[in-house]
Amino acid sequence: MSFVRLEDVSVEFPIYQGSSRSLKKVLLASTTRGNLARDARDRINVRALNEISFELRSGDRFALVGANGAGKTTLLKVLAGVFEPTNGRMTSTGHVTSLLDTSVGLNGDATGHENIILRGMYMGIRPREMAERAASIAEFTELGDYLDMPVRTYSAGMMIRLAFAISTCIAPDILIMDEWLTAGDARFLAKAERRIAEFVGHSSILVLASHSMELVERWCTRGLLLHHGRIMTIGPIEEVIAAYRKLTEELLAIEAGAAAA
């Protein structure tokens, strides 16, 4: 049985840029103060997530929606265990597979076949075991002889096929996906959907972040709408989509008003 629970999770992190990335300038600033001090404070604290609480159980298909910068990806990373909450707590059971970025864990200079083994290792699967799965992965990607070529020669769509096929070669308990998957072609999407439906049938949890309401509506049963790192709406998917549409309209109205004024 898999399970995810977030209690008052907040994530806050400083964005370092410009001279705060330089040790020399930071050191100088701490000794001389004055003008240099301001340079070294090129530091912005971002509160990407604010007191997020929810619970997911086996069989849940959960959507994260919201505008760009609402905190969807940060939340996905917290769920994947990549970011540790700076406040609150996250508890989860089950094997987590995250598909946040296609290229990650793929080595551009290695061939498709080698990458199957390589990415498998990052997932905790030993090469010998992965080799047994390689044939079915290759079949799922439909990439054929391209798998003998270095991955850097692949198109975005081919990368997606490969990354998805590898990551889902064992049924994860918790599957975390960012919206990039939707860049695949329609036939592949249908195939991916069938595979995911199979997992969720086997009591896995799916968390999907997307801007495509059609996709979200078809794949998910529940969801949450994030706005500036806070939960605006959480509940059945129809409600969330309605809230998202309303929010978008409101934002557009505000913009139109500002433009008119």
Partner: protein, 305 residues
């Protein structure tokens, strides 16, 4: 499933129960003034850091495989493969050997083995330090997507450098056959604790530098130039005896102690009396410093890279 009990430990603890993996991520918050909470938080941090190092080491198969993969990919398309490095070292040693044995008025048969062993061990140390700048930055893609113990990246880096060392180590017996030295066979076992300590220091340094360099982007070039300067300050190309009465300058150099404890047994020379103790103390300090840093900032690494 008894959930609460399984995670009653601290922060990021991964336990196996009922064949299921239980993960808990708890905030290691930075409370303002509340000292009690602060104490709790720092003990949590320590436990998390210890768990990270333990889990990282436990996944040996992974970092060993990844290091081998690194080697394969690094030398892809070159016929000699990792032996390229070996050839480079041979060329460097033979050309430097000719010139510097004249400069130091030392016979070739004494100088060349000294230089060879010294340079090979130095390459090992310097490799770990310079690559240590990218411990986390070089694998940022992985850190951003897959939850792995951070220490695993340091183990992978050090193990990769051990593999490189192994490829150039083959030069040493060849040089020793051409220029025979009285080898005390019993003493050869001494090189293993020496190399082990070097590797332990390598892990500590690559974690420490990896974090600093992820946070401050101007550090890697600084490290690179410092390493270059240290190369000339350390008795690698020259015997410490050449300093005459100032020999202690060299003897106290921690990097020299690493070279000394490996080189002396190989060349049948006495190890300098303080080398082992200096090396032991430096290793302890190094690990302590690195661990403190790791404990404090571990959770930030994912945001820095």
């Amino acid at each position: 499933m008894r959930f609460a009990r399984a995670v009653s430990g601290v922060g990021r603890a991964t336990t196996f129960q009922d064949g299921c993996r239980v993960t808990q991520l708890e905030a290691v918050s930075e409370p303002a003034a509340d000292t009690i909470v602060d104490l709790l938080a720092s003990s949590t941090r320590v436990a998390l850091a210890v768990a990270d190092i333990r889990d990282g080491f436990a996944q040996r198969w992974l970092w060993i495989q990844l290091a081998h993969q690194d080697m394969r990919l690094r030398y892809r398309g070159s016929m000699l493969g990792p032996f390229w490095q070996t050839i480079t070292t041979v060329v460097l040693i033979s050309s430097m050997g000719v010139i510097y044995s004249k400069l130091f008025h030392t016979p070739m048969k004494d100088y060349l083995p000294l230089l060879t062993v010294g340079l090979i061990i130095w390459n090992f140390i310097a490799g770990m330090i310079t690559e240590g700048c990218g411990t986390f930055d070089a694998v940022r893609g992985i850190i951003q997507q897959v939850k792995l113990p951070f220490s695993l990246h340091a183990f992978r880096l050090v193990y990769r450098n051990i593999l490189v060392l192994a490829h150039s180590f083959v030069i040493i017996p060849i040089v020793l056959i051409i220029f025979p030295h009285p080898i005390a066979w019993m003493r050869l076992v001494e090189i293993f604790p020496g190399l082990l300590l070097a590797a332990v220091n390598g892990v500590a340094i690559s974690i420490f530098l990896g974090m600093i360099c992820a946070r401050f982007r101007d550090v890697p070039p600084i490290v690179a130039s410092v390493v270059q300067v240290i190369f000339f300050l350390t008795p690698i190309m020259w015997p410490p005896a050449a300093l005459g009465s100032n020999q202690w300058w060299a003897v106290l150099n921690p990097l020299y102690t690493v070279i000394d404890v490996v080189r002396s047994p190989l060349l049948g020379m006495p190890t300098s009396p303080h080398s082992w103790s200096i090396l032991a103390i430096v290793t302890l300090c190094n690990c302590a410093l690195s661990f403190m840093f790791f404990t404090r900032f571990r959770a930030r690494i994912a945001f820095w890279v």
